[in-house]
Amino acid sequence: MLRLAVIAGLVLLAASDLRAQAADIFAPNAPLPRLELPTIDGKRSVDLGELTGKPTLLIQFASW
């Protein structure tokens, strides 16, 4: 039990470090966070945590 807890702790620590390298809320090998954002036309929204069912290419960008 103790061993499992230590492994879980190490896993969380690793995830936290990787998160800091990429972006604050995106952790490699973890599900996307529950973050809902509106579309640019303001007509609907998407929850990143619900992007399942097929692979997703997620592109963060700016038009500039």
Binding site: F26, R34, L35, T39, I40, L48, P55, L57, L58, W64
Partner: protein, 438 residues
């Protein structure tokens, strides 16, 4: 982005891949025009508050069918191979636990930490209300919504221990209000101040830095931000489509490219009213708004240009209650600006761009230009200006040439490294370029 779209569109058409974009821009409709111009048909999400926490763009990630992030930094040089890896790999069922941000803004899921009495919870709820106003109410934020949201964001940003992101997001909300019918004339400057204060605390946040640079001096621009807009409008119309027209007019700073040149006075210019004899606009017929967008170099301790190098923004609004119009037949609106000794400014005499060919008009007029203090201790930091404008009262009213005097105080931020401008080698002034963002 175009490379990724070219590589992924066929897979998406086959139903094998979903493409989602997230834009980190202040103005969603500019990105809508960009997507229309490029023919992007996938959903693009709007993250003006930088809720994802990403420090730079572009950032491309591959997510497996279970919703697990598998490829956190996909390489555009190997776009097709990266996509093959994402689709062709049998990803293990095991994964790390989800690390959700709390509260999940928009979902209105919050920890039980005192509810709205907790400044952080109240601020996050305020962000959600602003961000989702169009989705949930089919309307932009109201005056009341802006008022209550900004109050909550101000309280949190000023709270002890609040992160720098709280100040950045407050600035975003202020700029949103500035671009709305509920504008406070001070919102533009306040948003720039918020972003600068946030960036001073976390200089590696390039998305925050870009928000200032969008309106900042050319000496600080890594690239032009919206120089593509005019071409996009023309090309979309040429295709027979109605383009998405940006609701907020572009300023000169937003279409200008970077430069390493020092702005120099080009010629000796003549003051339009050297004796100050013209009548002054004592009734407030034209409202002047000013904002100073500072060079962001000092936030990172890279003082390659003197602190205080800035882009000055002037906005003129004819008073609606007095039915004030520009008297266009009597000439343009002009500015005479005087800078302290040793400062650089390209002109003393500026002419506002004329956007109407009608004899009278009442549009908002904008002008922005750059100033640069001398290396070494500056001789002052106040700019003295006089505006000259022919205005008419009412549709058939009398037109007259008026003047308005004003002052602008340019802040001179200290360098965190302690290195003052005098310590910098002359001639090293650069664009403050950095390659990690954008």
């Amino acid at each position: 982005m175009p490379v990724w779209y070219d590589a992924a569109r066929e897979l998406a058409a086959q139903g094998r891949l979903r493409i989602i974009g997230i834009t980190e821009e202040q103005h969603a409709d500019r990105c809508r025009l960009y997507a229309q111009w490029k023919g992007y048909d996938f959903p693009i999400l709007w993250d003006p508050f930088n809720l994802t926490g990403s420090s730079a763009v572009p950032l491309v990630m591959g997510i497996d069918a279970a919703g697990v992030l598998r490829l956190p930094r996909m390489d555009v040089r190997r776009a097709r191979e990266e996509l093959e890896t994402l689709l062709g790999t049998s990803w293990p069922a095991e994964h790390l636990p989800r690390l959700d941000p709390f509260p999940a803004v928009g979902l209105e899921v919050t920890r039980d930490e005192g509810g709205a009495a907790n400044p952080r919870v109240a601020a996050d709820r305020a962000l959600g209300r602003l961000l989702f106003s169009r989705v949930r109410n089919a309307a932009p934020p109201s005056r009341e919504l802006f008022g209550s949201a900004l109050s909550a964001l101000e309280v949190y940003a000023a709270a002890e221990g609040a992160p720098a992101s709280a100040r950045f997001r407050l600035g975003v909300a202020r700029r949103l209000r500035y671009d709305s019918p509920w504008r406070d004339p001070a919102d533009f400057q306040a948003s720039l101040d918020d972003w600068y204060a946030a960036l001073e605390r976390e200089p590696a946040r390039y998305i925050w830095r870009r928000r200032i640079q969008q309106w900042g001096p050319r000496l600080d621009k890594p690239y032009p931000f919206y120089d593509w807009v005019e071409s996009a409008l023309v090309e979309v119309r040429a295709r027979g489509e109605e383009p998405v027209v940006p609701s907020v007019p572009l300023t000169g700073a937003e279409v200008a490219g970077g430069t390493r040149e020092i702005p120099r006075r080009e010629a000796q210019e003549v003051h339009p009213d050297p004796k100050g004899g013209l009548p002054r606009d004592t009734e407030g017929l034209v409202h002047l708004e000013t904002a100073v967008a500072l060079h962001t170099g000092p936030t990172a301790g890279r003082v390659r240009v003197p602190p205080g190098t800035a882009r000055i923004h002037l906005v003129l609004r004819p008073d609606r209650e007095h039915s004030v119009h520009w008297g266009n037949e009597a000439g343009p609106t002009r500015l005479w600006i005087e800078v302290p000794a040793g400062w650089d400014v390209r002109h003393n005499l500026w002419t506002f761009p004329l956007t109407s060919k009608a004899p009278t008009s009442s549009e908002v007029r904008r002008l922005d230009f750059e100033v640069r203090p001398p290396l070494g201790p500056p001789s002052g930091h106040r700019l003295h200006g006089t505006l000259f404008y022919p205005v008419c009262l009412g549709d058939d009213g009398v037109c007259t040439l008026l003047a308005q005097d004003f002052e602008i105080e340019v802040p001179l931020p200290a360098s965190p490294s302690g290195a003052g401008p005098a310590d910098e080698a002359a001639g090293k002034e650069g664009a403050g370029d950095d390659s990690s963002g954008g």
